[in-house]
Symmetry: C2
């Protein structure tokens, strides 16, 4: 799960990660909002009706969901499960509250927080988009301070300075996470059983 300040470069980073290594899949969210021009069903989002979305909620088919501006947004369980079965790590962009909810259900999920190298760099990137008014940028930077409140709950922070280096670093962090005892419990169990069997000989 990847969180971080808006403008920190999460999106670009995640796309590049999936492009650079073949063991990742981007999670595709489900939404009730209408597709915008250029958006494709199953690529940007799975676009469904309100009825369909609520049916999914009832069936427990969503890992998490939230309502925003009158529309539902959520993470379909089925898609994630299929990718995991293929042996892929599923990358999910999500804000901190959603991330912590998922972590409760999936304790081996990894939490990465993308940060800019500095606040002035963050400001520069938000301005560089050219889509935001100075007012909005100021509000975003203020909100970023609050968003940073949950960082301590994250496994790793990723400082997005140079894209390529950062993608490599992210890959290294995910590889490291695969080496925790918690994520190798069956290997550890096997070694233990073998050792016990030996002791009984």
């Amino acid at each position: 799960m990847v969180s971080g300040f808006s403008g920190a470069g999460k999106g670009t980073l995640m796309k590049q990660l999936v492009r650079s290594y073949d063991n990742y899949a981007l999670s595709v969210s489900m939404t009730t909002r209408s597709p915008r021009p250029g958006e494709e069903d199953g690529r940007e989002y799975f676009f469904v009706s309100r009825e369909e979305f609520e049916r999914r909620i009832e069936e427990g088919g969503l890992i998490e969901y939230a309502s925003y501006c009158g529309n539902y947004y959520g993470t379909p369980k089925e898609y994630v499960r299929k990718q995991l079965e293929k042996g892929r790590d599923v990358i999910l962009e999500i804000e901190i509250q959603g991330a912590l909810k998922i972590k409760e259900q999936f304790p081996t999920a990894l939490l990465l927080f993308v940060m800019p190298p500095s606040v002035s760099e963050l400001k520069k990137r938000l301005e560089g988009r050219g889509t935001e008014s100075p007012e909005v940028i100021k509000r975003r930077l203020s909100r970023a301070g609050e968003e940073a409140d949950g960082i301590e709950n994250y496994d790793f922070i990723v400082i997005n300075d140079k894209l390529e280096e950062c993608v490599e670093q992210m890959h290294g962090l995910i590889a490291a996470a695969h080496k925790t005892p918690q994520r190798n419990s069956s290997f550890i169990r096997e070694i233990r059983q073998e050792l016990q069997a030996f002791a009984k000989q």
Copy 2:
């Protein structure tokens, strides 16, 4: 801190790690036992008298120490501190109880547990040394089962299959550990303060 079953290859791994990358230093233990032929003061151990060792204990100059077969063994704080000041990561071979004691004093210390790829491989390596009787090997394997009891407290497990790959992996795990929020608290604090300052503008 590196722990693991005897025969898992900790020693070789650590020496190769320090040789391959220049950001590491091996911690040198202090002991009251006599140097063996070929051992050098300050390389294998710092060799000191019983009086000197007990003076260090009183002064709080040891990170941890233990008594084994009538001799003291311990980790001098001063040496570790100097290496850390030089910006190096200090590598320390230590059994699990000592490691957990150190972790209490230094919460950002990293715990790595070296494992063989399989029990049969561990047995082969212990036999390959040619110095141990079948009786001793059997006892070691039995004890390994008990040593494995603390693995859950470790940050990462390292499976020592191929030396070079394993050294690289160890380097990656240590690099990853440097990216936890806990080990970047001052960077996070700075970013937060800057953001708050911006919000007040």
